[in-house]
Symmetry: D2
C-alpha cells in the first residue's frame, strides 16, 4: 500500500513520524527479514549526504542528524521485528516562524494544512517540510541493504539539471563517488560548476531555482512489480511525487519518448552472448515493461520546482482573507537538488525492496525448502 | 493503499479483474456511501468513450462493452455494499496470438510476466493489455458521481500532443463536449486535424506514435490529500503511471516549472472579491500545495509512449534465448491517446474521490451530527 | 489486512460482493501464485457442501450455486492474475421481505445497517445474510489448493455441539468423509442423531438453536503468523467472527485452558524419534505459540448463536420508533451449524494461505534462486 | 487493516515497535484528527495501570514506564500528524535469559520465532513478550480521547475469573474506580480476595494461573463496524487475540448463547420512552448486530491461558533436537489478568475509534459543511 498517510509499502512497510520543528524525526520499518547483518554506519552515511550544512550551497541549519536505533537490531543483526530509528532535532528554531503566524506563505502548505485540519500550525513546515525526509533516508538505507542480500543492486541518482544548466552523464557507468565529487552532485564536472554558480547567484538574489534529478538502478532481478496498480512505474511515481517540491516523474524515455514512433522506441531483445541470456539493444523502456522489471537498468527522472521560501517580500493574505505581505526568515536551501539526490535514492530503494519482498509470495511454490523446515537445519 | 496488486484506494477501494482475452472484465468498488442515486447510463457513456471501434483512428476490435451491475445497487440507489460491475468480452481472438507462443514481442510485457510468474501466458496481453482499463473507466464513472454529491467537481482531460503536434487549449474553460467534438479528442480543431493526419500516416506505415494527455479538475474542495505518502500528487502520479503505456507525469508546471526561479513560480494568494474568499494569481502549483488541494484547479499531464505493437517484422528472441523475428497481427491502436482520455479521467476521479472520503475521517470532530443519530431522524 | 470492508487478507486478498437478494454473489481473489493447476470441481464441491436444500435440516431455498470462473484461469492453470468467480442468485424472493419494509426484525442487522448507511434496504439481509458466504467458500477452496502446493495441509471442521448436545470426536484422526457421513456434520454418529432430532424439534416450534463448530488443521508448516497484530490466532479470530451469527472463538484450550495452571497447560517439547524432529506431548496451545504455528495441529472452535429468524410473532419497533410486531416468512435454517462447517473451513484456508504467502517474504533471503532467474530456466 | 505485522487499524493506524529487552518501546499513531486537546497525563495514567511492580501480585520488574511524546503534539493539541510516543526500557536484564540460549522454553514463542525467522533471538521474549503491550496502552489512551470527542464513550474492563474463582459484577454500572479498588482488578470484593489468594498460592508453587477479563463499552453510537470482514466483532476478536496469552473471545452471550434457542436469545426492540428512541430489552447480542453497533452496551470477554514461565524445572529440547531441561529465571507474573485489564481496554478503544473514523467516510454525503470551507471560517 504505497501511500496511506505516513506509511509506505506493502511487504516492507515504512511509517515515518516527526515535524520539522518538533522533538525528533523517525521511521519504523516493518517487514525487514531477520538475520541480516545491518550496517548502521551505512545508514549514517546516507543521512550525512542529506543533512544541511554540508556545503555553502545548502541550508546552514546545524543538525548532526545522528541516527539512533531504538528496536529491531541485536548484535548487529535484524531481528525480523520493526526496526525503529530516530533522529533528534537540535537546531529547530520556531521563533523564525512567528511572523507567519497569521498569514499564508505563497506556494507553501500553510493554507492547505489549515484547510485540511481546520487547525493552524504555524511553527515550521511540520510534515510538509523537507526535514521529514530524514526518516525516509534512514529507512531507504536499510532497504538497500536488504535488496543487496538478494542481488548486487546499485542505486545511483545525480543532479541532471539546475534551472537550464544540464549535465551530460553516462548512465551505464555513473557511480556514487563521481556524483559526490562535486558538492552540487552532478558528475559532469563542467556542468556542476555552472550549476553551483547559478545556485550562488539565485541565493544572492534572495531567490531559488528548480531542476531535475535522474536515477539509475542496476542489477535488479527480472519480475519485480505487481500488476496492475502495483506496477513498478506506478510505485516509483507515487514514491517520487511524495517528496516535497517534486512536480514531475519520467520512466525511461518519458516525455521525450512520447514524441517517438514505435519503430524507434521499441527495445529489441537479442541474445547477450552468455548461455541463454538476453538483453535489449536499447532501453527506452527504462527497464520496466508492463510495470515489471525486465533485467535492464531501471532509469527515471524527477522534476523539482524552485523552493517556495524566498528572502524577499511577497504579497499574500492573512487569516482573515485580507491582503498583506510576508518576508520569510529562517534557514533554507536556494536549491533542493543536491540534497534531493539521497532522498530519491532512498525512495527508489524502498519501492524496489518492497516489490522484491512481494515478489517472493508470487513465484512458483513447488520448491519452497525454507518453509516447514526445522529452525536448526 | 493506492497500488496493492489489482486494488486501488484506501477509503474507496477498487479491485479490477479480467484478462484481455478471457471471459469478462470487471470492477468491485467498495466503500461507496449508501443512498446515492447512481446513473448507470453515465457509466455506460464513459465506457462508450473508451471502447474500440469508435472511429477510424482506433482499434477495430468489436466490443459493445455493455456494463452489467452485479451487486450494490437497488432501485437506482447505492446500498453502501460493494458495487460489482462486469463487461463481457465478445470479440476476443486468442488465435491472433498463437505466433508469439514461443517468442517475446519487443517492448511488451511477454517476457516480464513470464519472469514474474515463471509461467508463460501467450494469448493476448492479459492484465497488461489496455483492455483491462474497461473496469477502471466503469469504476471512475461511479467515483465521479460520488464526488459530485459533495461538490460540483468537473474532470476534463484531452489530447494535448500526438508525436510533435501540440494543441493549444484554454484550461480554464475547456469542456468535455469540446474535447469530443473531434475523434482525436483534442479541442484545438486545427491541431486535431493534424494529429489525425499523423495517426493515419503511422497506421499506414504499420507504425505507432505516442503523445501527451492533459487533465484539469475544477471545483475540488480544499484540504484533500494525505501527508506524507498519500499526497494528492503522489496518488495521482501512481494512478496515472499504472495506465498501460504511461511513461511520465507532471503536476502543475511540472518539468517546465523546474526551469523557473521561485520568484516566478510562486503562486501569490490574494482576496478574490467575495467575503473572505481567496485565490492565487497564477496556478503553477496545479492546485496542490504540500500534497493537499488548495481550491484552485488541479492540473496535470500524462505522457504515453508509442504502442509497442507494430505491423512490421521485428527481431526478437524465443523461449530458448535464440534470435528470431516476430510480426504481430490482431487489432491494435496506432495511437492510444484518444482512448486514453476517459481512462485518465477515470483514474483522476478514483484518486480524488478516495482522498475526499479519507478527508472525512480527518476533519475536526466537534460537529458530527450524523454519528449516533437514530436512522429515521 | 484482514478486515477492510469486504476485503480479507494481505498477500492473498479476497474481495467479496453480492447481496442475498441481488443478481449474483462473487469473489475476486488477488495474489494467487501463477501456474497452479486449479480444480474447479473441488471449488464446486465445497459450494455443494454449503448450499441450501441439501437435507431436511436446512433452508429449502433452491439454489444450484453453480460457480463461474470469470478471470484468472486459462487451460486449467492460474494466471497469477485476479481469479474472479461468480454465482448467480436463482431463487431470490424479495417479496417475502415486504412485511418488514417499515419495521426492524429482532436481532437482525436491519436497524444497524439503517443506522450505518442512513438508508433502509428492506429486501433480504443484503450483505449481513449468510448467503454472502457463498463467495468465501469458493475463495477458500482456491486457497486450500494453493496451501497444498506447499505442504499436505488438511482442514477439517465439524459440528461439535448443537444446543446442549455435544459430540465426542478424535481430533487427531477425524476426516471430512466422517464429518459428511451424517447430514448434521457431526462425526459422532450417536450425537449426530440427537442433534438432528433437536433441530427438527426447534423447527417444529418455529424456533432455532445455536451451537459450536470445531476445526483442526493438520500438516501446517512451522513459522506461519505475523507478529504482533497478524498473529495466527488474531487472524483466525477475526476471520471466524466475520461469519454471520458467530459470537465466540477459542484457540487450543481456549476458555477451558484459562482454568488451568501453567504446570498443567504447558506443552512440553520432546524429540519425536526422527532425526532432529520434535513435537509437543500435549497440544493445549492449539498449534500456535506467540501467534506463530509450531508444527502441531492447529485447533480452534467457533460459537454460533441461534438464528434470529423465528417463524413466530415477535414484538419490535417500526421506522417511527413505535411498538409493533413482526412475523418473518421466507426460507431459513433452524440451525446454521451443518452449513457453517464448510464456511469455517474456508475462512481457515484463507487465513492460513495468506499467512503462508506472507511468510515467504520474511524468511532468510540468502538462498533465493527463483528471483532473478530467466523464465525459461 | 487490523493485523498487518505490527500495524493495526485502517483509518486510525497504530504501528508499535520495541522488544522486551531492547532500548525502548513505542507507538506511532497515524490518522488522529487535528486540533484535539490531548491529555498526556491520561496516557501516563493508563500506563501506570499496566506497569509491573504495582502490587505484590505481579512482576517486580522495575519500570517507571514514563511516556515521551516525540511528534504530533504542539501546545497540547494534536497536529493531525503521526503521534509518536516512546517508553524507554530501564530494567531489562537479558542475562536472565542466557540459560535458554540453546533450548526452547515450553509454550513460549522461542521455537516458533526461530522457525519463522530462521534466526534465534535468545534475550527475552522480544515482540512476543507482554512488555510489547506498553505501546498499545499508550495508543489506546489516545484513541479513547478521540472517541470521546464524538460521544461520551466509557470503556470498562475487569477481571471476571481467575482459575475457577469467578466474580459477580453489574455490567450496567461497573466503573473503573470500582475495578481498581482491589489490586486484582475484580470489582466483586469477596471474589477479588479469593483471586488474590489463589494467585499468591500459585506463585508460592512456582506455578501460574489463567482467567477471563470481561469488558463493557457504553455510549457508543449506532452504526459503527464495516461489513463484512470489518464487522465490529471480527475487529474486536482480532484485536483481543493479538494480546499475548489470549486464547478465547466471546461477544455478548458468546458460548453460553450458543446453547440457547432463538426465542430466548433474540433481543426485542422497544420504545425507550424518549421521543422516537428505542432500545432492546435484553442484550445477548452484546451491542452488535450484523457486525454493526446498535447503540446498546458492547460487551465481550477474553480468555487468557496461564503464563508459560514456571519457576520449576521442565523437560524440553535444545537447538539440536535433543532432550534437556529448562528452569526459567527472571521476573514474571504468576497471573497476567490484573495487568491485562488496561490492555483489553486499550485494544477496545483502538478498534472502536478506528471504526468510528471509518464510519465518517460511509455516512450520507449530502451535508458535509466541513469540506470545502475556508480554514478561517
Amino acid at each position: 500500500m504505497p501511500g496511506v498517510g505516513s506509511t509506505f509499502g506493502t511487504a516492507l512497510r515504512v511509517t515515518t513520524f516527526g515535524e520539522s520543528h518538533g522533538g525528533a524525526l523517525g521511521a519504523v520499518v516493518d517487514g525487514v527479514p531477520a538475520g541480516i547483518q545491518l550496517s548502521m554506519s551505512a545508514v549514517q552515511a546516507a543521512l550525512d549526504r542529506r543533512r544541511p550544512g554540508q556545503s555553502a550551497l545548502v541550508s546552514n541549519r546545524r543538525e548532526a542528524d545522528r541516527v539512533e536505533v531504538v528496536s529491531g537490531l541485536f548484535e548487529g543483526r535484524t531481528l525480523g521485528t520493526p526496526l525503529a530509528m530516530m533522529v533528534r532535532n537540535r537546531d529547530a528554531d520556531p521563533r523564525a516562524y512567528a511572523p507567519f503566524r497569521d498569514r499564508y506563505r505563497p506556494s507553501h502548505a500553510d493554507l492547505t494544512y489549515a484547510a485540511k485540519h481546520g487547525f493552524r500550525t504555524w511553527q515550521g513546515g511540520g510534515r510538509a517540510s523537507a526535514r521529514e525526509t530524514v526518516a525516509r533516508v534512514a529507512a531507504g538505507a536499510v532497504a538497500l541493504q536488504v535488496l543487496r542480500e538478494v542481488a548486487p543492486v546499485e542505486v545511483v541518482a545525480w543532479v541532471h539539471r539546475v534551472g537550464d544548466v544540464e549535465g551530460r552523464v553516462d548512465e551505464a557507468a555513473v557511480s556514487m563517488p563521481e556524483v559526490d565529487a562535486h558538492a552540487v552532485r552532478c558528475p559532469d564536472a563542467a556542468a556542476a560548476e555552472r550549476m553551483a554558480a547559478l545556485i550562488r547567484e539565485v541565493r544572492r538574489d534572495g531567490d531559488t531555482v528548480g531542476g531535475v534529478v535522474r536515477c539509475v538502478v542496476r542489477g535488479l532481478p527480472q519480475g519485480l512489480g505487481e500488476p496492475v496498480f502495483g506496477k513498478l512505474e506506478a510505485v516509483l511515481a507515487g514514491a517520487m511525487l511524495s517528496i516535497p517540491a517534486a512536480k514531475g516523474f519520467e520512466s525511461g524515455s518519458g516525455y521525450a519518448g512520447s514524441r517517438m514512433r514505435g519503430s524507434e522506441h521499441n527495445d529489441l531483445w537479442e541474445p547477450n552472448g552468455t548461455d541463454r541470456g538476453v538483453h535489449t539493444r536499447t532501453n527506452h523502456s527504462g527497464g520496466i515493461q508492463g510495470g515489471i522489471s525486465n533485467g535492464m537498468p531501471v532509469t527515471f527522472s524527477v522534476a523539482f520546482k524552485p523552493v517556495a521560501t524566498l528572502f524577499t517580500e511577497q504579497p499574500t493574505v492573512d487569516d482573515h482573507g485580507q491582503a498583506t505581505t510576508v518576508q520569510p526568515k529562517g534557514r533554507h536551501d536556494p536549491c533542493v537538488l543536491p540534497r534531493a539526490v539521497p532522498i530519491v535514492e532512498a525512495m527508489a530503494a524502498l519501492s524496489l525492496c518492497d516489490a522484491m519482498l512481494q515478489q517472493r509470495s508470487r513465484v512458483g511454490l513447488g520448491s519452497v525448502p525454507e518453509l516447514g523446515r526445522w529452525p536448526w537445519e
